[in-house]
Protein backbone atom coordinates (compact mmCIF):
# COMPACT_ATOMS: atom_id res chain seq x y z
CA UNK A 1 0.00 0.00 0.00
CA UNK A 2 2.16 2.82 -1.28
CA UNK A 3 -0.36 5.67 -0.95
CA UNK A 4 2.01 7.94 0.96
CA UNK A 5 3.60 8.75 4.28
CA UNK A 6 0.34 10.04 5.76
CA UNK A 7 -1.02 6.46 5.91
CA UNK A 8 1.47 5.43 8.56
CA UNK A 9 0.09 7.84 11.18
CA UNK A 10 -3.24 6.10 11.75
CA UNK A 11 -2.70 2.44 10.92
CA UNK A 12 -4.43 1.63 14.18
CA UNK A 13 -7.21 -0.63 12.94
CA UNK A 14 -5.87 -4.00 11.88
CA UNK A 15 -7.77 -6.14 9.36
CA UNK A 16 -8.56 -9.74 10.29
CA UNK A 17 -8.65 -12.01 7.25
CA UNK A 18 -9.36 -15.50 8.54
CA UNK A 19 -11.01 -17.48 11.33
CA UNK A 20 -7.60 -18.73 12.43
CA UNK A 21 -6.24 -15.21 12.65
CA UNK A 22 -9.32 -14.25 14.68
CA UNK A 23 -8.82 -17.05 17.24
CA UNK A 24 -5.14 -16.07 17.55
CA UNK A 25 -6.14 -12.47 18.16
CA UNK A 26 -8.64 -13.40 20.88
CA UNK A 27 -5.89 -15.27 22.70
CA UNK A 28 -3.25 -12.59 22.20
CA UNK A 29 -5.49 -9.73 23.29
CA UNK A 30 -7.11 -11.52 26.24
CA UNK A 31 -5.57 -9.07 28.67
CA UNK A 32 -7.16 -5.98 27.12
CA UNK A 33 -10.41 -4.84 25.61
CA UNK A 34 -10.78 -5.97 22.00
CA UNK A 35 -13.27 -4.26 19.74
CA UNK A 36 -14.13 -6.00 16.46
CA UNK A 37 -15.85 -4.13 13.64
CA UNK A 38 -17.72 -6.41 11.25
CA UNK A 39 -17.88 -4.40 8.06
CA UNK A 40 -18.44 -4.52 4.31
CA UNK A 41 -16.82 -2.41 1.59
CA UNK A 42 -20.18 -1.68 0.00
CA UNK A 43 -21.62 -0.06 3.15
CA UNK A 44 -20.74 3.65 3.44
CA UNK A 45 -21.60 3.76 7.18
CA UNK A 46 -18.76 1.30 7.76
CA UNK A 47 -16.20 3.69 6.33
CA UNK A 48 -17.49 6.38 8.69
CA UNK A 49 -17.40 4.05 11.68
CA UNK A 50 -13.83 3.07 10.76
CA UNK A 51 -12.89 6.71 11.14
CA UNK A 52 -14.62 6.85 14.52
CA UNK A 53 -12.70 3.73 15.58
CA UNK A 54 -9.39 5.21 14.42
CA UNK A 55 -10.04 8.28 16.58
CA UNK A 56 -10.93 6.13 19.59
CA UNK A 57 -7.76 4.10 18.99
CA UNK A 58 -5.71 7.29 19.28
CA UNK A 59 -7.44 8.31 22.52
CA UNK A 60 -7.36 4.85 24.09
CA UNK A 61 -4.11 3.11 23.12
CA UNK A 62 -4.73 0.34 25.66
CA UNK A 63 -7.76 -0.83 23.66
CA UNK A 64 -7.32 -3.04 20.59
CA UNK A 65 -9.40 -2.26 17.54
CA UNK A 66 -9.70 -4.58 14.56
CA UNK A 67 -11.98 -4.95 11.62
CA UNK A 68 -13.21 -7.99 9.81
CA UNK A 69 -14.98 -8.18 6.46
CA UNK A 70 -18.15 -10.00 7.48
CA UNK A 71 -18.67 -11.68 4.11
CA UNK A 72 -15.00 -12.54 3.74
CA UNK A 73 -14.81 -14.60 6.94
CA UNK A 74 -18.24 -16.30 7.10
CA UNK A 75 -17.37 -18.83 9.85
CA UNK A 76 -16.73 -16.04 12.31
CA UNK A 77 -19.72 -13.98 11.14
CA UNK A 78 -22.05 -16.93 11.53
CA UNK A 79 -20.63 -17.94 14.88
CA UNK A 80 -21.53 -14.54 16.31
CA UNK A 81 -24.80 -14.25 14.36
CA UNK A 82 -23.77 -11.15 12.44
CA UNK A 83 -26.82 -10.26 10.41
CA UNK A 84 -26.01 -6.72 9.31
CA UNK A 85 -23.10 -4.29 9.02
CA UNK A 86 -21.69 -2.47 10.78
CA UNK A 87 -21.79 -4.63 13.91
CA UNK A 88 -19.30 -4.29 16.76
CA UNK A 89 -18.36 -7.04 19.19
CA UNK A 90 -16.49 -6.40 22.44
CA UNK A 91 -14.18 -9.02 23.92
CA UNK A 92 -12.34 -9.31 27.23
CA UNK A 93 -10.48 -12.43 28.36
CA UNK A 94 -11.49 -13.97 25.03
CA UNK A 95 -15.12 -13.66 26.16
CA UNK A 96 -17.71 -11.63 24.27
CA UNK A 97 -19.02 -9.07 26.74
CA UNK A 98 -21.05 -6.70 24.59
CA UNK A 99 -22.35 -5.96 21.15
CA UNK A 100 -23.51 -3.00 19.10
CA UNK A 101 -25.57 -3.37 15.95
CA UNK A 102 -25.56 -0.39 13.62
CA UNK A 103 -23.60 2.78 12.94
CA UNK A 104 -24.10 4.65 16.22
CA UNK A 105 -20.91 6.59 16.82
CA UNK A 106 -21.88 8.04 20.23
CA UNK A 107 -23.07 4.61 21.41
CA UNK A 108 -19.82 3.00 20.25
CA UNK A 109 -17.78 5.63 22.05
CA UNK A 110 -19.84 5.17 25.21
CA UNK A 111 -19.45 1.39 25.20
CA UNK A 112 -15.73 1.51 24.48
CA UNK A 113 -15.14 3.98 27.29
CA UNK A 114 -17.28 1.99 29.68
CA UNK A 115 -15.58 -1.34 29.03
CA UNK A 116 -12.10 0.12 28.82
CA UNK A 117 -12.40 1.65 32.26
CA UNK A 118 -14.08 -1.21 34.07
CA UNK A 119 -11.25 -2.35 36.28
CA UNK A 120 -8.71 -5.10 36.42
CA UNK A 121 -8.73 -8.53 34.86
CA UNK A 122 -8.03 -10.56 37.97
CA UNK A 123 -10.28 -13.61 38.40
CA UNK A 124 -11.92 -11.97 41.41
CA UNK A 125 -13.02 -9.08 39.18
CA UNK A 126 -14.68 -11.60 36.88
CA UNK A 127 -16.55 -13.16 39.78
CA UNK A 128 -17.64 -9.71 40.82
CA UNK A 129 -19.02 -9.00 37.36
CA UNK A 130 -20.90 -12.30 37.39
CA UNK A 131 -22.39 -11.55 40.78
CA UNK A 132 -23.47 -8.11 39.62
CA UNK A 133 -25.08 -9.64 36.55
CA UNK A 134 -26.99 -12.21 38.57
CA UNK A 135 -28.21 -9.52 40.93
CA UNK A 136 -29.29 -7.43 37.98
CA UNK A 137 -31.13 -10.37 36.41
CA UNK A 138 -32.83 -11.13 39.70
CA UNK A 139 -34.05 -7.54 39.88
CA UNK A 140 -35.18 -7.61 36.26
CA UNK A 141 -37.14 -10.84 36.56
CA UNK A 142 -38.85 -9.41 39.65
CA UNK A 143 -39.42 -5.99 38.10
CA UNK A 144 -43.14 -6.68 37.72
CA UNK A 145 -45.48 -9.46 38.90
CA UNK A 146 -45.47 -10.72 35.32
CA UNK A 147 -42.40 -10.09 33.16
CA UNK A 148 -41.96 -10.97 29.51
CA UNK A 149 -38.46 -11.08 28.04
CA UNK A 150 -38.97 -10.85 24.31
CA UNK A 151 -37.48 -9.85 20.99
CA UNK A 152 -38.70 -6.35 20.34
CA UNK A 153 -41.57 -4.66 22.17
CA UNK A 154 -45.26 -5.53 22.55
CA UNK A 155 -46.01 -2.72 20.10
CA UNK A 156 -43.36 -3.91 17.65
CA UNK A 157 -42.39 -7.53 18.19
CA UNK A 158 -39.34 -8.59 16.21
CA UNK A 159 -39.93 -12.31 15.97
CA UNK A 160 -42.92 -14.53 15.26
CA UNK A 161 -42.80 -16.37 18.58
CA UNK A 162 -42.58 -13.18 20.62
CA UNK A 163 -45.47 -11.77 18.61
CA UNK A 164 -47.63 -14.82 19.31
CA UNK A 165 -46.77 -14.67 23.00
CA UNK A 166 -47.90 -11.03 23.25
CA UNK A 167 -51.12 -11.86 21.41
CA UNK A 168 -52.00 -14.63 23.85
CA UNK A 169 -51.27 -12.43 26.86
CA UNK A 170 -53.45 -9.65 25.45
CA UNK A 171 -56.22 -12.06 24.54
CA UNK A 172 -56.43 -13.22 28.15
CA UNK A 173 -56.16 -9.68 29.48
CA UNK A 174 -52.98 -10.49 31.38
CA UNK A 175 -51.09 -7.59 32.89
CA UNK A 176 -47.39 -7.75 32.14
CA UNK A 177 -44.28 -5.65 31.66
CA UNK A 178 -41.76 -6.45 28.99
CA UNK A 179 -38.04 -6.24 28.31
CA UNK A 180 -36.53 -6.13 24.83
CA UNK A 181 -33.59 -8.52 24.89
CA UNK A 182 -32.26 -6.93 21.71
CA UNK A 183 -31.59 -3.79 23.71
CA UNK A 184 -29.05 -5.44 26.00
CA UNK A 185 -26.68 -8.20 24.97
CA UNK A 186 -25.56 -8.83 28.54
CA UNK A 187 -29.10 -9.59 29.65
CA UNK A 188 -29.83 -11.51 26.48
CA UNK A 189 -27.04 -14.01 27.09
CA UNK A 190 -27.01 -13.79 30.88
CA UNK A 191 -30.67 -14.65 31.32
CA UNK A 192 -30.29 -17.83 29.27
CA UNK A 193 -27.65 -19.04 31.72
CA UNK A 194 -29.45 -17.68 34.81
CA UNK A 195 -32.60 -19.69 34.01
CA UNK A 196 -30.99 -22.52 32.04
CA UNK A 197 -33.41 -21.76 29.25
CA UNK A 198 -31.98 -21.40 25.75
CA UNK A 199 -34.62 -19.41 23.91
CA UNK A 200 -36.81 -16.29 23.84
CA UNK A 201 -39.53 -15.29 24.56
CA UNK A 202 -39.47 -16.12 28.29
CA UNK A 203 -42.36 -15.42 30.67
CA UNK A 204 -41.82 -14.95 34.42
CA UNK A 205 -44.38 -14.67 37.20
CA UNK A 206 -43.15 -13.49 40.61
CA UNK A 207 -39.60 -13.87 39.38
CA UNK A 208 -40.05 -17.50 38.39
CA UNK A 209 -39.72 -18.81 34.86
CA UNK A 210 -43.03 -20.15 33.56
CA UNK A 211 -41.66 -21.05 30.16
CA UNK A 212 -41.63 -20.17 26.49
CA UNK A 213 -44.34 -19.93 23.87
CA UNK A 214 -44.98 -23.69 23.73
CA UNK A 215 -45.68 -23.86 27.43
CA UNK A 216 -47.89 -20.77 27.42
CA UNK A 217 -49.88 -22.29 24.53
CA UNK A 218 -50.36 -25.52 26.45
CA UNK A 219 -51.36 -23.62 29.60
CA UNK A 220 -53.85 -21.70 27.50
CA UNK A 221 -55.30 -24.95 26.13
CA UNK A 222 -55.57 -26.50 29.59
CA UNK A 223 -57.07 -23.25 30.94
CA UNK A 224 -54.38 -22.87 33.59
CA UNK A 225 -53.05 -19.61 32.19
CA UNK A 226 -55.64 -17.50 33.99
CA UNK A 227 -54.72 -18.97 37.38
CA UNK A 228 -50.99 -18.49 36.91
CA UNK A 229 -50.84 -14.98 35.46
CA UNK A 230 -52.12 -11.75 36.99
CA UNK A 231 -55.00 -10.09 35.16
CA UNK A 232 -55.30 -6.47 34.22
CA UNK A 233 -58.35 -4.89 35.81
CA UNK A 234 -61.05 -4.51 33.17
CA UNK A 235 -61.29 -1.05 31.75
CA UNK A 236 -64.97 -0.81 32.59
CA UNK A 237 -64.18 -1.53 36.25
CA UNK A 238 -61.49 1.11 36.28
CA UNK A 239 -63.72 3.70 34.75
CA UNK A 240 -66.52 2.93 37.19
CA UNK A 241 -64.15 3.40 40.13
CA UNK A 242 -62.64 6.55 38.68
CA UNK A 243 -65.85 8.34 37.79
CA UNK A 244 -67.14 7.65 41.30
CA UNK A 245 -63.97 8.79 43.05
CA UNK A 246 -65.53 12.08 44.09
CA UNK A 247 -69.00 13.58 43.77
CA UNK A 248 -67.61 15.84 41.08
CA UNK A 249 -64.91 14.34 38.84
CA UNK A 250 -63.19 16.29 36.09
CA UNK A 251 -61.42 14.34 33.31
CA UNK A 252 -59.00 16.82 31.85
CA UNK A 253 -55.64 17.37 30.20
CA UNK A 254 -53.27 18.04 33.07
CA UNK A 255 -54.32 18.54 36.68
CA UNK A 256 -55.58 21.17 39.14
CA UNK A 257 -52.14 22.71 39.47
CA UNK A 258 -51.31 22.69 35.79
CA UNK A 259 -53.83 22.54 32.95
CA UNK A 260 -52.30 21.33 29.70
CA UNK A 261 -54.83 22.74 27.27
CA UNK A 262 -56.93 25.85 26.83
CA UNK A 263 -60.32 24.25 27.41
CA UNK A 264 -59.15 22.37 30.48
CA UNK A 265 -57.75 25.64 31.85
CA UNK A 266 -61.04 27.42 31.32
CA UNK A 267 -63.07 24.70 32.99
CA UNK A 268 -60.72 24.77 35.99
CA UNK A 269 -61.21 28.51 36.35
CA UNK A 270 -64.97 28.14 36.20
CA UNK A 271 -65.05 25.33 38.78
CA UNK A 272 -62.66 27.15 41.07
CA UNK A 273 -64.81 30.26 41.02
CA UNK A 274 -67.88 28.29 42.12
CA UNK A 275 -66.16 26.93 45.22
CA UNK A 276 -67.34 23.41 44.36
CA UNK A 277 -65.17 20.59 45.65
CA UNK A 278 -63.88 18.38 42.90
CA UNK A 279 -61.10 15.98 41.95
CA UNK A 280 -59.31 15.57 38.65
CA UNK A 281 -57.94 12.82 36.41
CA UNK A 282 -55.25 13.54 33.83
CA UNK A 283 -56.24 11.75 30.63
CA UNK A 284 -52.85 12.48 29.11
CA UNK A 285 -51.39 9.99 31.56
CA UNK A 286 -53.53 7.13 30.34
CA UNK A 287 -53.99 6.28 26.67
CA UNK A 288 -56.81 3.81 27.36
CA UNK A 289 -58.96 6.35 29.22
CA UNK A 290 -58.57 8.88 26.44
CA UNK A 291 -59.90 6.58 23.79
CA UNK A 292 -62.32 4.38 25.68
CA UNK A 293 -64.07 6.87 27.92
CA UNK A 294 -66.02 8.32 25.03
CA UNK A 295 -67.27 4.89 23.95
CA UNK A 296 -68.20 3.69 27.41
CA UNK A 297 -69.85 6.94 28.51
CA UNK A 298 -73.35 5.88 27.38
CA UNK A 299 -72.98 2.64 29.39
CA UNK A 300 -71.89 4.49 32.51
CA UNK A 301 -74.72 7.00 32.14
CA UNK A 302 -77.15 4.13 31.89
CA UNK A 303 -75.93 2.68 35.16
CA UNK A 304 -76.46 5.96 37.01
Amino acid sequence: MAAGAAEAAVAAVEEVGSAGQFEELLRLKAKSLLVVHFWAPWAPQCAQMNEVMAELAKELPQVSFVKLEAEGVPEVSEKYEISSVPTFLFFKNSQKIDRLDGAHAPELTKKVQRHASSGSFLPSANEHLKEDLNLRLKKLTHAAPCMLFMKGTPQEPRCGFSKQMVEILHKHNIQFSSFDIFSDEEVRQGLKAYSSWPTYPQLYVSGELIGGLDIIKELEASEELDTICPKAPKLEERLKVLTNKASVMLFMKGNKQEAKCGFSKQILEILNSTGVEYETFDILEDEEELKENGELLPILRGEN
Partner: protein
Protein backbone atom coordinates in the same frame (compact mmCIF):
# COMPACT_ATOMS: atom_id res chain seq x y z
CA UNK B 1 -22.63 -30.76 13.62
CA UNK B 2 -25.44 -32.91 12.37
CA UNK B 3 -28.73 -31.16 12.32
CA UNK B 4 -30.97 -33.25 10.11
CA UNK B 5 -34.52 -33.76 11.35
CA UNK B 6 -33.91 -37.51 11.33
CA UNK B 7 -30.85 -37.19 13.54
CA UNK B 8 -32.71 -35.02 16.07
CA UNK B 9 -35.70 -37.35 16.06
CA UNK B 10 -33.55 -40.39 16.74
CA UNK B 11 -31.54 -38.68 19.47
CA UNK B 12 -34.73 -37.71 21.30
CA UNK B 13 -36.15 -41.19 20.90
CA UNK B 14 -33.02 -42.74 22.36
CA UNK B 15 -32.27 -40.37 25.22
CA UNK B 16 -35.84 -39.96 26.41
CA UNK B 17 -36.79 -43.61 25.79
CA UNK B 18 -39.70 -42.15 23.89
CA UNK B 19 -42.66 -44.13 22.69
CA UNK B 20 -43.13 -41.77 19.79
CA UNK B 21 -41.24 -38.83 18.35
CA UNK B 22 -42.74 -36.95 15.44
CA UNK B 23 -41.23 -34.16 13.37
CA UNK B 24 -44.08 -31.71 12.85
CA UNK B 25 -42.07 -28.88 11.31
CA UNK B 26 -44.25 -26.72 9.08
CA UNK B 27 -41.98 -24.74 6.79
CA UNK B 28 -39.02 -26.56 5.39
CA UNK B 29 -36.58 -23.97 6.70
CA UNK B 30 -33.36 -25.83 7.37
CA UNK B 31 -32.86 -24.24 10.74
CA UNK B 32 -36.31 -24.72 12.27
CA UNK B 33 -37.62 -27.78 14.04
CA UNK B 34 -40.99 -28.57 15.57
CA UNK B 35 -41.41 -31.85 17.38
CA UNK B 36 -43.89 -33.95 19.31
CA UNK B 37 -42.32 -36.20 21.96
CA UNK B 38 -44.27 -38.88 23.78
CA UNK B 39 -42.43 -40.47 26.68
CA UNK B 40 -43.15 -42.14 30.02
CA UNK B 41 -40.32 -40.05 31.42
CA UNK B 42 -42.73 -37.09 31.40
CA UNK B 43 -45.09 -38.72 33.91
CA UNK B 44 -45.66 -36.57 36.96
CA UNK B 45 -43.52 -33.74 35.63
CA UNK B 46 -44.80 -30.20 35.13
CA UNK B 47 -44.44 -28.69 31.65
CA UNK B 48 -41.33 -26.69 32.44
CA UNK B 49 -39.47 -29.79 33.63
CA UNK B 50 -40.51 -31.80 30.58
CA UNK B 51 -39.27 -29.09 28.26
CA UNK B 52 -36.03 -28.92 30.19
CA UNK B 53 -35.51 -32.65 29.60
CA UNK B 54 -35.90 -32.13 25.89
CA UNK B 55 -33.68 -29.04 25.96
CA UNK B 56 -31.02 -31.02 27.83
CA UNK B 57 -31.15 -33.84 25.31
CA UNK B 58 -30.56 -31.40 22.46
CA UNK B 59 -28.26 -29.06 24.38
CA UNK B 60 -25.56 -29.19 21.72
CA UNK B 61 -27.87 -28.78 18.76
CA UNK B 62 -30.28 -26.12 20.06
CA UNK B 63 -27.96 -23.12 19.69
CA UNK B 64 -27.88 -23.92 15.97
CA UNK B 65 -31.62 -24.30 15.51
CA UNK B 66 -33.07 -20.91 14.87
CA UNK B 67 -36.71 -21.75 15.60
CA UNK B 68 -37.52 -24.61 17.93
CA UNK B 69 -40.98 -25.70 19.06
CA UNK B 70 -41.86 -28.70 21.18
CA UNK B 71 -44.88 -30.49 22.50
CA UNK B 72 -44.46 -33.05 25.28
CA UNK B 73 -47.01 -35.70 26.20
CA UNK B 74 -47.11 -38.78 28.37
CA UNK B 75 -48.23 -42.00 26.64
CA UNK B 76 -51.66 -41.65 28.32
CA UNK B 77 -52.12 -38.06 27.19
CA UNK B 78 -51.18 -39.01 23.67
CA UNK B 79 -53.58 -41.93 23.59
CA UNK B 80 -56.36 -39.61 24.70
CA UNK B 81 -55.48 -37.01 22.08
CA UNK B 82 -55.53 -39.52 19.28
CA UNK B 83 -58.99 -40.61 20.24
CA UNK B 84 -60.40 -37.10 19.75
Amino acid sequence: MELSAEYLREKLQRDLEAEHVEDTTLNRCSCSFRVLVVSAKFEGKPLLQRHRLVNACLAEELPHIHAFEQKTLTPDQWARERQK
